[in-house]
Structure formats: C-alpha cells, structure tokens
C-alpha cells in the first residue's frame, strides 16, 4: 500500500507524524508529570541547540564535537570499506579463502560493536584508535557480506565467458565480479555507514575526550538533559544525512545500470 501513495502525500503524512510527536512531547513536558530538569520541552531543546552552536560545552561547540565524531567515523568506515569489499569479492571467487575466513568472520560478527568498547579502551585509552576500531567492527560485516554475496550471485554466464577468454583471476575480479556486484556492494556500504555511525557514538560515550557522545556524557553528569537531547537530535540528523547521501549515490548507480 505504501508504494501506491504519491510523494507529496507521503511528505504530508510524514509531517503530520512529526508534528504529532513534537506536540505530544510538548504536552507531556508542560503537564508537569515529569520534572522540567528531566524532560525539557521541544522548544527548550531547540533553544539549547542554537546556543550550543556558538557556546562551548565540554571543550567545544556542537559543531566542533560533530566534526571530531565525523572524523573518526570517516576513518573507521573507510577502513571497513577498503578491507571489507575486496576481501568479500576474493572470498566470493576463491572457495579456499571463503572456507578459511568464514568461520572466524561468522563468530566475530556476533560481537556487537559496543562489546568491543572495553577491549578498545584497554588498547587505545581515549585516543583516536578506540572509536575507529569500534566503528570498524560495526561497518565491516555488511561491507564484506554484501560484496561476498554480490560476487557469489554474479550470473554464471559472465564468469564462464571470462574464463573461456582466458581472463586471469585479478582481472576477473576487477572487471567482471566487481562491476557485476556494484548494486549489492553499494547497498552494503549504505548499511555499513548506518551501523558505523550508530556504533561510533556509542563508543564515544565511553572512550573519547571529544565528540558528540562525549558531550552527552558530560551533560549527563551535569544533569543538562537539554544538552543530552541536543546530542541525540544531532546524531539522528547526521545519520539521516549520511543515509540520504548514500541513497542518492545508490539510486544514481541503479539508474545507470538500469539502462543496461
């Protein structure tokens, strides 16, 4: 049924939902059922957000914290993509590698990114490496899995055609498996980005001295609920922006491949 709605109608319904949510929040906050220190209204949070854009909190403005979060995210995510996609393609081509790596990978991927926090803290303290390791653990599995599945699902005709043309392995991976798996790989990169962003902020709650997560922990100990909620809003908004950006890339690639 969702597919039958036109975009304008969907946008309007989405707006109704958002306004309803904010209204309910404002109502509960104004009712006095919860203390104002623990549940500030939407307007208070908005005012706090604006204030944090130019006043410093826990070592920086909101944008400074966001910037340092994004830096870690980029490092961990790039590492996950650069290792995960090639390894996934290689595993999709070479049965031996698949058999060697799969058991380790299957066991490791059930360790939630947040479960890496104590280990990361021991290794890196509050340095750059800890959050990078944690975001890597979140973003890596979908990057690898989607490249692997993409490579395994390539139409056998293309592989047979390449083999009968005498194509060596490295070229078969780069020029046949990779282009044929692009839709699957891009979907994996998008899922990986979402999971990576989620795990990064979780990691910053514990092992970091800057970043949105760190800002929120500092606000918590100062019982500045509005600041905590500004952090949540910022995480949500940036997450949506990352997703929209990657969806756009994905749609563009599908349009290009759709003509094929």
């Amino acid at each position: 049924m969702i597919g039958t709605l036109d975009p304008a109608r969907r946008l309007m319904l989405g707006a109704i939902g958002l306004v309803g949510f904010l209204g309910l929040w404002a109502l509960v906050a104004a009712s006095g059922l919860v203390g104002k220190a623990f549940l500030p209204g939407p307007l208070d949070v908005a005012a706090r957000l604006v204030a944090l854009l130019h006043t410093s909190f826990a070592g920086g403005t909101l944008l400074v914290h966001l910037g340092s979060s994004l830096q870690r995210f980029t490092a961990g995510y790039a590492l996950a993509a650069l290792v995960g996609v090639p390894l996934g393609l290689l595993m999709g081509r070479f049965r031996l590698l698949d058999d060697i790596v799969s058991p380790i990978f299957d066991a490791l991927r059930f360790i939630a990114p947040i479960a890496w926090v104590p280990f990361a803290a021991l290794w890196f303290g509050t340095g750059f490496g800890g959050p990078v390791l944690i975001i890597f653990s979140g973003a890596f599995p979908p990057c690898l899995l989607n490249a692997y599945r993409g490579a395994r699902q390539v139409d056998a005709r293309y592989i047979e055609a390449a083999e009968m043309l005498g194509t060596p392995s490295h070229r078969l991976i780069l020029e046949v498996l990779l282009p044929a798996s692009v839709p699957s790989i891009v979907a994996g990169l998008r899922i990986g980005a979402g999971l990576g962003w989620q795990s990064l902020v979780g990691a910053e709650l514990i092992v970091a001295s800057t970043g949105v997560g760190y800002m929120m922990v500092q606000a918590q100990s100062g019982v500045s609920t509005a600041t905590v909620m500004v952090g949540m809003v910022a995480i949500g908004l940036v997450g949506v922006l990352i997703d929209v950006a990657l969806r756009t890339v994905e749609a563009r690639i599908h349009r290009r491949l759709g003509r094929a």
């Binding site: 293309y158 047979e160 055609a161 390449a162 083999e163 009968m164 043309l165 194509t167 282009p179 094929a260």
Partner: protein, 263 residues
C-alpha cells in the same frame, strides 16, 4: 591440429540421478564443421559444455587436439546462446578482453579489434554498450569476440536461437562465408535442422535423454557434389533437391525421437 574427440563419454547430474549423456563417441576432424541436432533436453548443450571445460564427464574422456579438456580457455572460444556480453563493457572492450588476456600489444590489439568490428559490419559502434544494440548486433559482437582470438576450435551453442528469422538468415550466410574462408573446427549446437544442413559438414543426430548419438549424416560430400557454393542465398540452397533430401531425412530421424517425448 585441433580435432575434438568424445571418447565413451557419460554424464550424469544430481548425484547420478539424471543421466544426461550415454556413451557418446564422436570425432570431429580438424577444421571440420559439426552440427549436433536433437530434441530439447537431449544433452546437446552438455556436449558443448564438456568441450568448453565448463563441465566434466562422469566417465570417459573429451579430448581437444591430443590433450584432455581440464579447464576453459581461449583455444576453445564459445559463442553462447544468450550472448553473455559484459554489459558494463563497450563493443570494443568486449572484443578486446581476450586479446588483453593474451598480452597482445596495444597497437596490435587495436588493429585486430578494428578488423573484427569490420568483419561483423559494426563500424561506428565500437563505443556502444551491448544494451544499445539489437539482438542480432549483440550476437555479432559475441561472434567477433570469439573470432578475434583466432581460436582453433569454435564452440557455438544455438547462437542464432534468440534472433528473429531475417537476422538469423543474414547471420547464417555470414557464418558460412567466414567458415569457408577461414575454416575452424566448429561444434555447432542447434535445434534447427535446416540451419544444421546449411552450415555443417556433418550433422550428428542425438536421441532424447539420455542423449546418445543416433546417426551422423554427411552433408559435405552432397554439398560439394551439387555445388551449393554457387548459390548466393540460403533460400537458393534450400530449394535444391539434395538439400531437401538431407533435411527430410534428418527430420524423419528426429521425429521418431520426438514421438516418444512428453509433448
């Protein structure tokens, strides 16, 4: 010297449950054009896949030249029924890939690709992608991709099956010209009896599953005795009594097989 030899080949699928080929003995001489016809599902494509090295016999041997087939390779170029061009590569890139794999120098590659494109009459389409071409043009690219490697053996799996009738005729005439000018060992799979008689030196008729070679019909001696090469067009050849005689003979033989089939 590149003959193809099926030596007591059996092939089963599904852990021996399905018997696809039974005791296939078939010798295709160097530079001979052999067509295999048979009812659908009789295993003719399996024969080609064994020669290509995509699959291997359950028992018996498949030899190309003097060595047993162990893997696919550019000495045995395949033209697939569904073309199998790489959609993300242009016409020129599709044709060029096999030459790059052989480490042919760039200048020579360019010349040979240009020659191949000219041969199939697609000058000006070098930069086009497969989806921008008609089915007939795509199949010509697939043929050029195989021919450009100058393979000793050409394996063609119903290459014209997906084309409309007019395009098919043009392609058949082209293939006859190419094959007579530059003869190769060809294994040609088809269910078109006329196509087989028109193109091949010999036609092998297969039984329905499990596929066996039922009969081998010699076309070449008839063709040469009756001077089919003087006919410019396929329909002129098809009008000749010698052609009709061979065609009808093969049809009868196939009909006997089909009568026992499910439909």
């Amino acid at each position: 010297m590149s003959s193809i030899r099926f030596d007591a080949v059996n092939k089963t699928f599904g852990g021996g449950q399905i018997k696809a080929l039974e005791d296939i003995d078939l010798d295709i001489a160097d530079k001979e054009f052999m067509a295999i016809v048979g009812p659908s599902g009789c295993g003719k494509t399996t024969c080609l896949r064994l020669a290509a090295g995509f699959e291997f016999p359950s028992s018996g041997r498949v030899l190309v030249g003097n060595s047993e087939v162990t893997q696919p390779g550019p000495d045995r170029a395949v033209v697939f029924q569904q073309f199998a061009l790489f959609p993300w590569k242009t016409v020129a890139e599709n044709i060029e890939l096999g030459l790059r794999n052989k480490n042919v120098p760039r200048a020579e590659r360019r010349a040979r690709v240009a020659e191949a494109v000219g041969m199939i009459g697609l000058d000006g389409y070098e930069g086009a992608y497969p989806h921008q071409l008609s089915g007939g043009m795509q199949q010509r690219v697939a043929i050029a991709r195989a021919y450009v490697l100058d393979p000793q053996v050409l394996l063609m799996d119903e290459p014209f099956g997906a084309l409309d009738a007019q395009t098919r005729v043009v392609m058949q005439e082209e293939l006859v010209r190419l094959a007579r000018r530059n003869p190769r060992t060809v294994l040609f799979i088809t269910h078109g009896v006329e196509e087989a008689v028109y193109l091949a030196d010999r036609v092998a008729i297969m039984t329905r599953r499990p596929g066996r070679i039922k009969e081998i019909v010699d076309v070449k001696s008839v063709r040469e005795a009756d001077h089919w090469e003087k006919c410019a067009r396929i329909e002129d050849v098809m009008d000749r009594e010698s052609f009709i005689h061979l065609r009808t003979h093969i049809w009868r033989s196939l009909r006997e097989e089909k009568n026992g089939a499910e439909h």
